[in-house]
């Protein structure tokens, strides 16, 4: 994939809203980040900055709004709750269809499988299918028709079975058919396969139709890396392992490759060690490879988190208060580090309370207060904006400044 050129639109958030019950933490915030930029996001405590960050990488699901990143839509347009419900129901539907299989197998070994329970299961299945008709009404017309056919078949099967075999142990439903050995099991297997096929092989389209929520790990793979306000390292692992975990989304080795020690898997492992070491050296932790992440000094932990995010090869890096709790020397080092990251072609969106850091770094700044975007612009514009002064220092100061 070609790297986006500087100035190209990378992240675009439009009217993002996040509600927690009655509290609206983020109110219609729109924001843009272009490739190569360092963008600041500031605001008083509780302004909703971190919540907004969480919405950007799907740690929290926005209530409404649109977020696009490098051409991918990160928020489904169907409301997530409905989308998820429908998707779950359709998975359940697929699973239920799988239940047909033992029944089909039952034809092969009738004495084992054909019992009262099987009849009950069949009737329940039919009931379930009828129940499913409702949530699946958003399906494409032809698949809805299939569903109706399945339901009818289930119902007829169960009914005829009950009707024709008052003593369940003797006559089976399959005695009704002349082509007992081949046709019926074949038909049953087909019935089983069709809905599974319908769902699984149409998965992308089903997801599109139902608005499957884009997960955080998918977003990381798309190219958004982040750090956390309260450091979230894997504290009992070594610094190197932490950063190697960052490589996770860029490696492919699966269970069998690893167990059999296939050359590809081994090469990948060597590569991720090399790349992780490189990232650690980049942030200045080249000496601490083997130390336990949790026992590193605070400033180093912050840098380790950045190294871990860098290892995911992000196009956009979200930094949540990277300078919190740092002394002036450390935050000066941080400024240099963020500059170097930016020079490496990675856009940075940074939340920070330390004004010295943010005014120094950011090309543009967005200001949030009580979940609302109150100002945006270059650092000098924002510094003079009366609304910003009011939000930080109160109305009196704003009046005095004016």
């Amino acid at each position: 994939m070609a790297e986006p050129k500087t100035g190209e639109l990378l992240l675009k958030a439009q009217k993002v809203v996040k509600r927690f019950g009655g509290l609206t933490a983020v109110k219609e915030v729109s924001l843009e980040v272009r490739a190569g930029e360092i963008v600041g996001l500031i605001g008083p405590n509780g302004a909703g900055k971190t919540t907004f960050f969480n919405c950007l990488n799907a740690v929290a699901v926005p209530t409404s709004g649109e977020i696009t990143f490098a051409g991918h839509s990160l928020v489904s347009q169907v409301t997530p709750a409905t989308g998820r419900l429908i998707f779950r129901f359709s998975l359940l539907f697929a699973l239920l269809s799988l239940l047909w299989l033992p029944l089909a197998l039952g034809v092969v070994w009738p004495e084992t499988f054909f019992r009262m329970e099987a009849v009950l299961a069949l009737s329940t299945l039919a009931l379930f299918r009828i129940y499913l008709l409702k949530p699946l009404r958003h399906f494409r017309p032809w698949s809805r028709l299939l569903l109706i056919i399945f339901t009818l078949v289930d119902g007829v099967c169960a009914a005829s079975w009950l009707w024709h075999s008052p003593d369940f142990s003797e006559i089976t439903f399959f005695d009704l058919f002349p082509f007992y050995p081949m046709l019926v099991p074949g038909a049953l297997v087909l019935l089983t396969i069709t809905p599974v096929f319908l769902l699984l092989f149409n998965l992308p389209r089903v997801k599109e139709a139902f608005g499957q929520h884009v997960r955080a790990d998918v977003i990381t793979r798309l190219g958004i890396g982040r750090t956390f306000q309260n450091i979230r390292l894997f504290s009992s692992l070594s610094a190197l392992d932490n950063v190697k975990l960052g490589r996770h989304c860029r490696t492919r080795a699966n269970f069998f490759g690893i167990v059999l020690g296939l050359p590809q898997a081994r090469k990948e492992e060597r590569d991720s060690v090399a790349k992780a070491t490189e990232c650690l050296k980049f942030v200045g932790l080249g000496e601490q490879l083997k130390s336990r992440a949790g026992s590193l000094p605070y400033g180093d932990q912050r840098r380790l988190e950045i190294a871990r995010a860098l290892a995911t090869e992000p196009k956009l890096l979200l930094l949540d208060e990277p300078a919190a709790g740092m002394n002036p020397t450390e935050s000066a080092a941080l400024i240099t580090l963020v500059r170097r990251i930016s020079q490496a072609g990675i856009a940075v969106l940074i939340i920070e309370h330390d004004m010295k850091v943010i005014m120094n770094l950011a090309d543009r700044i967005y200001v949030l207060d009580h979940g609302e975007l109150i100002a945006s612009g270059t650092p000098s514009e924002v510094r003079r904006n009366p609304k910003v002064i009011e939000a930080y220092l109160g109305a009196q100061h704003a009046a005095a400044e004016a």
Partner: protein, 318 residues
């Protein structure tokens, strides 16, 4: 460097250990020989179980109180297939492991969002369900009558009827499982599990699909448990629902708590110390007190909590 890495990467450390185990059946032990060999085989079975259980609570940090369910599932899968079809152990064992993995996934899928105690309760309930089905579905499992007369293990059409042959067989399976677990532990898969154990949100944010990796862990763990069960059925030649009581889950959990959660060497060591200990106590204690030997387990765990809360060979070294 962690002890696991040291032990399994350094030939000078693991070759002597392996040599000791390999010559064990040939040590001159007189009349005690068969008994010692039996206990050794049982210990190896529990080592496999401990390694398998270790995958879920040790690597992904989810407490599993129902491991015996998969042990029983594997034993019954293998036992029934053998009794009905007289298949070879080399066919029955993989089938049992697959069946275990299948039910492991089925148990895991609905519990993905559960954590800590809630997950533990579900695992407990699920294993009780398996045992209840085994006990009550007479047409399939013969229920409380048990399944007697299961064929011994075999290789290339030859029946392995000597105790030492069974010992080597389970040793082979143990090494196989050990190979898998050690390889996985130090790979991207193992790291993803550790990440899930440490912090699920951070794991998601570095690109780990938490659900998938949990499911892989459940499947692997259950498959190993079922494998041990399948060997057990073929070796012991009789299975009964009472052999798979809840107590066994706790016993296996004790092994890894004793050794240190998440540590492979610890799981092996736990089985190596505690399983022979129960046998030694069976001899030492008078007959009417022999069941009291389990009290000692409680005592050991209490002392462990006091002096080595992270187990004998803790994963983390400060």
């Amino acid at each position: 460097m962690h002890l696991d890495d040291r032990l399994f990467n350094d030939k000078r450390l693991y070759l002597p250990l392996l040599a000791v185990v390999l010559i064990l059946p040939w040590l001159p032990m007189g009349s005690a020989g068969p008994y010692v060999l039996r206990v050794a085989t049982l210990t190896l079975v529990y080592m496999v179980l401990a390694l398998g259980l270790n995958v879920v609570p040790g690597f992904t940090g989810l407490l599993d109180l129902g491991y015996v369910g998969f042990f029983g599932l594997g034993a019954y899968t293998a036992g029934l297939l053998t009794v009905h079809y007289q298949w070879s152990i080399w066919l029955v064992l993989p089938l049992a492991a697959l069946n275990g993995a299948f039910w492991g996934v089925l148990r895991g899928a609905p519990t993905l969002r559960l954590s800590d105690d809630y997950f533990a309760i579900v695992t407990f309930g699920f294993s009780e369900l398996i045992i209840l089905v085994i006990r009550n579905e007479l047409w399939l499992t013969r229920g409380p009558m048990g399944v007697p007369g299961i064929a011994r293990p075999d290789i290339f059409g030859r029946v392995l009827d000597q105790p030492w042959q069974a010992f080597y067989l389970i040793l082979f399976f143990l090494l196989l499982v050990l190979w898998v677990v050690v390889k996985i532990r130090s790979s991207r898969l193992g790291r993803a599990w550790f990440a899930v154990r440490e912090d699920e949100i951070a794991a998601e944010c570095v690109g780990v699909n938490v659900a998938t990796y949990k499911i892989i862990a459940f499947a692997l763990s259950a498959a190993i448990g079922a494998l041990a069960g399948a060997f057990y059925a073929r070796w012991f030649r009789f299975i009964h629902p009472d052999m798979f009581k809840f107590w066994e889950s706790i016993l296996i959990l004790c092994l890894i708590v004793f050794g240190g959660m998440g540590s492979i060497t610890g799981a092996l060591l736990g089985a190596l110390v505690l399983i022979p200990l129960t046998e030694v106590l069976r001899i030492v204690l008078p007959a009417e007190l022999s069941n009291a030997r389990y009290l000692l387990f409680g005592l050991i765990i209490v002392f462990m909590m006091r002096w080595r809360p992270a187990g004998l060979l803790p994963v983390e070294k400060e």
